[in-house]
């Protein structure tokens, strides 16, 4: 039953995004424009652009990723939460479904943005397997952290600026791991320490989200 609830809630979130297109049609073009504008500002220094590219890509994923979790078209509204609570849907299932939807959208965001970064910055493509793992781990981590931060800031004044303030410092180890995986691949370094770091952070955030889902659920109004 829990699985059915989870599937239905994730499906609802993704259908709303499919209709509104806020992430892929509004947020993503801004991130792509960011990649282009920085490249233009740096100029035709190809070696420098090659060095900058991966770090800039992950920085944009982190900054715009926290906006993905804050999207205005989020299906989660107080009335809907009340309805789900009255229906007896487990708060942990609600939290997991929101985090999963955010992760799926972030994955799509990363995968569409990556070719733009590759074309504009021409970074080395060594260690594709570990880079692929980084894409997944960053999506999970930022998705879960953003969902947790959005829950903490729900109905708070100024939540649009507070969520990035919480997500960015806590997600920084993920960005460092992703950039170091790219750097290390160029020198044949083992990717495992960074993959373990990112996995541990993801697990901690998911655990924190599951444990706090029930206490964070407001009483039905």
């Amino acid at each position: 039953m829990t699985m059915v609830h989870w599937q239905a809630l994730v499906g609802a979130e993704l259908r709303v995004e499919l209709r509104a297109g806020e992430v892929l049609l509004t947020t993503l073009p801004f991130a792509a424009a960011g990649l282009l504008v920085v490249a233009i500002a740096v100029g035709a220094d190809v070696p420098l652009l090659r060095r900058l590219g991966p770090g800039l890509y992950w920085a944009l994923v982190l900054l715009f990723g926290s906006l993905v979790t804050l999207r205005q078209t989020h299906a989660d509204r107080p009335a809907r939460r009340d309805l789900l609570a009255l229906l007896g849907i487990d708060p942990a299932v609600q939290w997991t479904s929101r985090a999963t939807a955010a992760t799926v959208l972030l994955l799509a965001f990363e995968l569409v943005l990556a070719p733009v970064a590759i074309v504009v910055y021409d970074p080395s493509l060594d260690g594709l397997a570990s880079q692929g793992a980084a894409v997944v781990l960053v999506a999970i981590g930022v998705g879960a952290l953003g969902t947790l931060a959005a829950d903490l800031n729900a109905s708070a004044r100024g939540s649009t600026s507070l969520v990035p303030l919480i997500v960015t410092p806590l997600a920084l180890p993920l960005v460092i791991a992703a950039v170091q995986l790219h750097e290390g691949a160029a020198y044949g370094a083992s990717p495992w320490p960074w993959l373990v770091l990112a996995t541990l952070l993801d697990l901690s955030v998911v655990l924190a989200g599951l444990l706090t889902a029930r206490p964070l659920q407001e009483p039905v109004t």
Binding site: L148, G158, T212, L216
Partner: protein, 244 residues
């Protein structure tokens, strides 16, 4: 809000200890290489220590609120976080002042500096979150969660100089074995640590009282005998309308 005798005693003890700390800091021998610049350590190290202490107290207050739901723990958590943010900012500022003449830069991408700046940002977000929520129960619940989650940054800051290659010196006092510094300097440092800790205690105590008074105002529990700001001013009375 009345100031208790004990609060006044704590304020006086903090001021006295600060004065003694200042004497120790100025009379301790100067560093052989850095000269008087090294005396900034007598402010920088205590403020960094207080950042750890303050956020640990916030963690304890958050956990205790979670277990007991008593407002006093929430007051302690927020009071300590506010004072902790102030001292973290001061640690960053004094570190930067010291870094310019010694390292040649105001700021560098050093793991200890970056993790401390992130610590500062997270607890700023904690304070921002509290200001954004008007319901006291919701505010206490959510900030308790963030107060617990954010604490993960504190051991990362302390161990950053061990885990990564860094310009910042490794732990000198908070480490196993004998502290690796001259004992006269260590004594001056310890006196200043105690003095700043007393200042922290006095500030947190005052902040807790303010939080309790804020809550009393929110809940309309202030007694008639309590003076309110602005109550001495009254609206002009029109005698003609009063006669009608």
């Amino acid at each position: 809000m009345t100031v208790t005798r004990r609060a006044r005693q704590l304020d006086a003890a903090a001021l006295l200890a600060l004065a003694v700390g200042l004497v120790f800091a100025t009379t301790a021998p100067a560093d052989r290489l850095q000269g008087d610049l090294q005396r900034l350590m007598y402010v920088h190290v205590p403020t960094a220590w207080l950042a750890y202490l303050a956020f640990t107290v916030t963690l304890i207050g958050s956990i205790a609120w979670w277990r007991t739901r008593r407002d006093a723990w929430d007051d302690l958590a927020v009071g300590s976080a506010e004072v902790g943010v102030f001292f973290t900012g001061l640690a960053l500022a004094t570190g930067s002042l010291w870094g310019k003449p010694v390292w040649g830069v105001w700021w560098t991408w050093d793991p200890r500096l970056v993790t401390t700046a992130l610590l500062f940002l997270i607890y700023l977000a904690y304070l921002g979150l509290r200001r954004g929520l008007s319901d006291p129960q919701v505010r206490a619940r959510r900030s308790a969660i963030l107060g617990i989650v954010a604490f993960v940054q504190v051991p990362i800051v302390h161990l950053s100089v061990v885990w990564w290659r860094t310009l910042h010196q490794p732990p000198t006092v908070l480490k196993p074995g004998d502290p690796s510094m001259d004992h006269t300097m260590l004594a001056a440092l310890m006196v200043n640590v105690v003095a700043f800790t007393l200042v922290y205690g006095a500030l947190v105590r005052r902040r807790r009282d303010i939080a309790a008074a804020d809550r009393a105002v929110e809940q309309g529990q202030l007694g008639d005998d309590v003076a309110l700001a602005g109550e001495a001013v009254s609206a002009p009375q029109h005698s003609r309308s009063a006669n009608v």
